[in-house]
Point group: C3
Chain length 139, copies 3
């Protein structure tokens, strides 16, 4: 049994921009040399989200619309009233979607469907550089 961890960086525009990070995750899981186990994609921060989606332009916009619907940008948030950050919607979206994603590792890679990509979503309202970590435990 081994534990492996490495990270990569992303330049993000924010505003629920959705990044396909599958290739990077595949690369790091391969680099780990671990064939079977559990992997975790994570990014420190309270305005990020990680999940999977069929990464095509239609769904990328559908997913953005969903976040806009349940936590609209223009609504009044207690966070904005207190801190004036204007990103209350970014925070609650992150809490609901979750900032980490766990996946099975099989045959030396993440076990995903053919039309399933791992995506990183930056919900914040400004440009940022983000660090994404891939941790794997297994054999």
């Amino acid at each position: 049994m081994t534990v492996y961890s490495d990270s990569f960086e992303l330049s993000c525009k924010g505003d629920a921009e959705i990044h396909d990070v599958t290739a990077e995750v595949v690369r790091l899981v391969a680099a780990s040399g671990i064939k079977d186990g559990i992997g975790l994609v994570a990014s420190p921060g309270s305005t990020v989200g990680i999940t999977t989606v069929e990464y095509e332009p239609g769904l990328v916009s559908d997913l953005k619309n969903l976040f806009e619907k349940f936590a609209p940008k223009g609504e009044r948030y207690g966070h904005d009233a207190r801190w004036g950050d204007g990103n209350g919607h970014s925070h609650v979206r992150s809490s609901l979607l979750g900032p980490t994603f766990a996946f099975p590792v099989a045959g030396g890679g993440p076990a995903l469907g053919t039309w399933q990509q791992i995506v990183f979503i930056d919900f914040d309202n400004k440009k940022r550089r983000r660090e994404i970590t891939v941790t794997v435990v297994g054999d």
Copy 2:
């Protein structure tokens, strides 16, 4: 420390059909021989979801209603406009709920509450056979 992984199949009707898979997960965790650790239930695909619920008919229908409310079947999705699959709602529901579920393993089984079952939800709009994988790492 060991890693164990095995899978089972489910015949699914789709349309947010909710399956109680607790007994299968309990069986595979027991088969792993691992007493304490972390387990992961996962299914490859971008129209599936895994979570827990008290599995009784009232809540099964409440949960279906919740998905229908935040991502209705009849709405216009960019995915459907582009691909004509008619399952845009299935995809965004899966992204929000998440296609994997991590749980603690204690005493040789999943640590769940008395009224808490692990459920697999097929959000797709057609019948499918699904593969569900249980991965366990621990001692």
Copy 3:
């Protein structure tokens, strides 16, 4: 490689009360002696949720409002019609948010952002004592 697990208790009022449990998680991860790996916070039960948020009063109320919006307390739930518990909303909120949270362990602690706290949410409609478990696998 080691597996470690320990738990702590919380007195909860319910009604989507949000507890910052970061200090307890940090303490248990440190106690594990594990420097790098994967951690999991979990609580048995079907009316709980675990995620992260910037824990400040504005966002705590924003997050409660979000749950109230997508699964209002006053709505009709099949669960309440059948069982008369009055907590149908508590259950579906828990299913959507998820009762477990996985995080990377790095440098002997949970890898979180500066403004990111791990929170336990009790969605139930009555006072309860809750047990929260932290499981860590790694080196």
